[in-house]
C-alpha cells in the first residue's frame, strides 16, 4: 500500500495529484522550486520540500534531489505529473532502484515508447496502421531518396528521439531532401542529443485524435474513448473534446480496439494515450504518451473515471476490477486551456463555477504567473449531454472569467469556441491560424 506520495511537479497538475491523494487518504508531499514556494500545490500539500532554484534543469528535472527528498520524507512513491520527468525512462529506473514506486509505466516501457522508431515498430507488430514511412532511421541521402520515393511526397522528417514539433522538416520534392535532412539531423542532435531521423508521409490536413487507456499491467486494458485535440497553435493543444465530432462509430471502434491491443502487447501499466492522425476514413498511429496528459479531465467527465486515482491504485498493484462493458461513456466534454501570454502578478482572478463546469487551476488573485515555466493558467472543462449544449455551456463559462494583471488567450479561445468551423466540427489543425490570425489582421 502507498501511504505517502512525493509529487515531482508544479502548477495545476501538482494540485490535481494532491487532491487525488487527499481523496485516497494518502499523505501528499510536494517537491517545489524556489519560484513556486507560494503556489497552491505547496499550500494544499501535507508537506513540501524545496528541491532547487527556479530553472527547471536544477529543480523539476533534478532527479537526484527529487529522489533524495522522497526517501528522506519517507514517501512510498513518486508521481511525476505531466512533462518534466514523466516520460524519462532513466528517472523511472532511478526511482525504482531507490526502492520507490514510480507512478507510471515500467521504465522499460517508457524507454521503448520514447524512441519513435521503436514505438512505430511495436505499433506495426501489434497490427496498427502507421503512416507510410521508413521503419528505421535514415542511413544517408541515398537511403532517404529511396524511402521518399516509395512513400510519396510530401514527406516529413522527424527526430527519432524527439517530440513536440522540434527537429521536424516537411519535404515536398526530392530536390529539397538533402538540405532538409542535414538540418533535421542538426536540430535532432541539438535538442535531443541524437541525430537519428526517420521519415513519414506528411498529411496536409489531419485531425489529432488520441485514445485514453487504463491498464493494470496484469492483462486488463480499458479504453475511455477518444479525445479530439485538433485545435492547436504551434503544435500546442488549445481545445480538447470527446467524443470527436468527426469520428464514425466504426472508426472509433477500430482505433479503440487497436489501442487496447497495443497496450496488451506492451504489457503496459498505468494510464496512457495512443495518439493518431486521422484523415478521411484512415487513421495512422503517431505515438504513445506513456503518462497522464494535461487534457485527461475530458475523459474523466465522459467516463466519470478518476484517472489520477486509478493511476495510484494501479501503482499499488490493484487490478482493474471492471471490464470494458462497465465503462459507460456518456455525453460530451470539452476542455479549454487558458494560457498566459505574459508573466506577472495576477491582480484579479475570477473563474466560472456552477453546473456543468470544472476548473483545474493553481492560481488565485495575488499569485504570480512565473516566467520560468509553461504558461497554463487554468483548464476549464465542461460536460453536457450533447456537443451543441456543451459549446453553449463553455461560452457561458468563458464569459464569467476575469483575469487582470497578465495577458491571456481568453479572447482567442472565445473566438474559437464561437466560430462557425468549430461549431460545425469540420476544421483542420489550421483553425487557430484561420480564426485568430485573421482577427488580428482585421483589428
Amino acid at each position: 500500500m502507498i501511504g505517502s506520495i512525493l509529487i515531482a511537479n508544479r502548477g495545476e497538475i501538482a494540485v490535481r495529484v494532491v487532491r487525488a491523494c487527499k481523496d485516497l487518504g494518502i499523505r501528499a508531499v510536494v517537491a517545489y522550486s524556489q519560484a513556486d514556494a507560494d503556489t497552491l500545490a505547496v499550500k494544499l500539500a501535507d508537506e513540501a520540500v524545496c528541491i532547487g532554484p527556479a530553472p527547471t534543469q536544477e529543480s523539476y528535472l533534478n532527479s537526484k534531489n527529487i529522489i533524495v527528498a522522497a526517501c528522506l520524507k519517507r514517501c512510498d512513491a513518486i508521481h511525476p505529473g505531466v512533462g518534466f520527468l514523466s516520460e524519462n525512462a532513466a528517472f523511472a529506473k532511478a526511482v525504482e532502484d531507490a526502492g520507490l514506486i514510480f507512478i507510471g509505466p515500467k521504465s522499460e516501457t517508457i524507454a521503448l515508447l520514447g524512441n519513435k522508431v521503436e514505438a512505430r515498430k511495436a505499433a506495426l507488430a501489434a497490427g496498427l496502421p502507421i503512416t507510410p514511412g521508413s521503419k528505421e532511421a535514415i542511413a544517408d541521402l541515398a537511403d532517404g531518396k529511396r524511402n521518399a520515393s516509395q512513400i510519396g511526397y510530401p514527406i516529413i522528417l522527424k527526430a527519432s528521439s524527439g517530440g513536440g514539433g522540434r527537429g521536424m522538416r516537411i519535404v515536398r520534392k526530392e530536390s529539397e531532401l538533402e538540405a532538409a535532412l542535414a538540418l533535421a539531423r542538426k536540430e535532432a542532435k541539438l535538442f535531443f542529443g541524437d541525430d537519428a531521423v526517420h521519415m513519414e508521409r506528411f498529411l496536409e490536413q489531419p485531425r489529432h485524435l488520441e485514445i485514453q487507456l487504463l491498464s493494470d499491467g496484469k492483462g486488463t486494458v480499458l479504453h475511455l474513448g477518444e479525445r479530439d485535440c485538433s485545435v492547436q497553435k504551434n503544435h500546442q493543444k488549445l481545445l480538447e473534446e470527446s467524443p470527436s465530432p468527426i469520428l464514425s462509430e466504426s472508426l472509433r471502434n477500430a482505433m479503440c480496439e487497436d489501442s487496447v491491443r497495443l497496450f496488451q502487447e506492451l504489457g503496459y501499466r498505468g494510464a496512457g494515450t495512443v495518439e493518431y492522425l486521422v484523415e478521411g476514413s484512415s487513421y495512422y498511429f503517431m505515438e504513445v504518451n506513456a503518462r497522464l496528459q494535461v487534457e485527461h479531465p475530458v475523459s474523466e467527465l465522459v467516463s466519470r473515471f478518476d484517472l489520477v486515482r486509478a493511476q495510484i491504485e494501479i501503482a499499488q498493484g490493484k487490478s482493474l476490477s471492471l471490464s470494458q462493458k462497465d465503462v459507460q461513456l456518456s455525453g460530451y466534454a470539452l476542455e479549454c486551456r487558458i494560457n498566459g501570454l505574459s508573466a506577472g502578478r495576477i491582480e484579479k482572478f475570477v473563474m466560472p463555477s456552477g453546473p456543468h463546469v470544472r476548473v483545474d487551476t493553481y492560481l488565485e488573485a495575488g499569485s504570480v504567473l512565473s516566467p520560468y515555466y509553461d504558461s497554463l493558467i487554468a483548464k476549464i472543462i465542461i460536460w453536457a449531454p450533447s456537443r451543441e449544449q456543451g459549446l453553449s455551456v463553455m461560452q457561458r463559462a468563458l464569459a464569467e472569467v476575469e483575469i487582470e494583471g497578465v495577458k491571456t488567450n481568453l479572447e482567442e479561445q472565445k473566438l474559437l469556441i464561437a466560430c462557425r468551423p468549430f461549431s460545425s466540427g469540420r476544421f483542420g489543425t489550421d483553425l487557430y491560424a484561420k480564426v485568430c490570425d485573421q482577427e488580428k489582421k482585421h483589428a
Partner: protein, 143 residues
C-alpha cells in the same frame, strides 16, 4: 550630496516632470511621489529658504553576516563520522575550501566547502536532519 538638502531636492522634483523619485545614500532614503492628476499642472517654483543641517554622524557599522545555504537535498552532518569531532563549531574560523559539513544524498557524502575565509557565527540546521535546497546551514562572518 552627503548632507541632504531636502528643500533643494523638492524644488528640483517640483520643477521636473517626474512622477516618482527615490534617493538613497548610506544615511538617508528618500521617496517622492506625485499623483498623476497633478503632475501635469504647471507649478510655481518652490520658494527657496536656508535650511540649517547639522554635520552628519557616521552610521555605526553593523557586523555583516552571511548565510550559507544547502546546495542540494540531503541529510546534514557536522562530523565526517559518527565519533569524529565536528568539522566546525560556533566560533571556528575556516579558510576558503575548508570543509564545513557533509550532506548525504543517495549514500554519497557530499562535502560542502567554504567559498571564503569566515568565522562560524551560528549553526542553523539540526545535525542528522533532512535539509532542503536553499535551507540555511550556517551564519558566518567573513574575515
Amino acid at each position: 550630496m552627503d548632507t541632504l538638502n531636502l528643500e533643494q531636492v523638492l524644488s528640483l522634483f517640483d520643477n521636473s516632470t517626474l512622477s516618482e523619485l527615490e534617493l538613497s545614500c548610506p544615511t538617508y532614503t528618500l521617496k517622492l511621489k506625485r499623483s498623476s492628476t497633478e503632475q501635469n499642472q504647471a507649478r510655481p517654483s518652490a520658494p527657496v529658504a536656508k535650511v540649517a543641517t547639522a554635520p552628519e554622524k557616521p552610521a555605526k557599522a553593523e557586523e555583516k553576516t552571511e548565510i550559507i545555504t544547502s546546495p542540494i537535498v540531503g541529510t546534514f552532518y557536522l562530523t565526517p563520522a559518527p565519533d569524529a569531532p565536528p568539522y566546525v563549531r560556533v566560533g571556528s574560523t575556516v579558510q576558503a575550501k575548508d570543509v564545513l559539513c557533509t550532506i548525504e544524498a543517495m549514500k554519497l557524502m557530499n562535502q560542502l566547502e567554504a567559498d571564503y575565509a569566515c568565522e562560524i557565527v551560528e549553526i542553523l540546521a539540526k545535525p542528522e536532519s533532512m535539509v532542503e535546497f536553499g535551507q540555511p546551514l550556517f551564519k558566518v562572518k567573513r574575515i
